[in-house]
Symmetry: C2
Subunit: 151 residues, 2 copies
């Protein structure tokens, strides 16, 4: 079950970022607070957030009453930013990653298809920011037409 499925850690990172986007940006949220609200294992989340810090998306404050806050405004943090802070560049097939060389060239007829998927996926992740989720508390059944422009 689940080809092309995003890993849990990415889901957790996005949850954390979204949580922070709802808070006062001046306030530091402790790890425990975020973990509790999002239902994510505390220590695992800690490691994940370090990636967001190294990626410049989150800033931290140490010491008592320390914690985390977004380093930029929610409108300036895209899903792609979060995902790539953890995973590096998105590549739906191996031929999409390493400098466009496919060892089965020049006869691989699939490249166009991978290209199209890649483009569409990255497009959604790039255009969707944390700010886009701040309204709409639950859109479980919506088919998200409001988020996408026509490709």
């Amino acid at each position: 079950m689940g080809v092309m499925q995003i890993p849990r850690r990415v889901d957790y990172a996005l949850r954390a970022a979204i949580y922070l986007s709802h808070q006062d940006p001046e306030r530091s949220c402790s790890l425990a607070e975020i973990a509790r609200h999002q239902g994510v294992p505390r220590k695992f989340l800690e490691k994940i957030i370090q990636n967001l810090i190294r990626g410049g998306l989150v800033k931290s404050k140490r010491g008592p009453d320390g914690g985390y806050a977004l380093a930029r405004s929610p409108g300036e943090i895209s899903f792609q930013n979060v995902i790539e802070a953890l995973e590096g560049p998105i590549a739906v097939n191996v031929c999409m990653s390493q400098h466009l060389s496919c060892d089965h060239l020049p006869r691989c007829t699939m490249l166009g298809v991978w290209n199209e998927i890649q483009r569409k996926v990255v497009d959604v992740f790039a255009r969707t920011t944390l700010a886009d989720l701040q309204r709409s508390p639950c859109q479980a059944l919506a088919s998200s037409s409001s988020l996408s422009s026509a490709a």
Copy 2:
């Protein structure tokens, strides 16, 4: 490297199906022939093709001079058919798979995004058939605009 990357076995299955789509449908292609032409490990490919057979996409002929051929015309075999024969239903996040239940509901604001990605990915895989690849031997640098209609 490679979040949301399709596994090698899916790539191999598609290669094999595409290879068969180029052959005379009455002729049986041996495993060795397919493996050689597509540069896929022979025994691994054998196991993969069994999935395609169980999925009704490929038929086999046993005995000397036996082999494999497509069970339907190339225009009636989509990427989605091949992928799901191996992997089961496509689900870009866990909440997309198990009967639309996300344990963080009703507050998960991401569902709309996953939904959109899911829809776009499945759309491409569903609309692309083996017949679409029979012309265009190499479209490495094309951005595949001919394959997609506007979403």
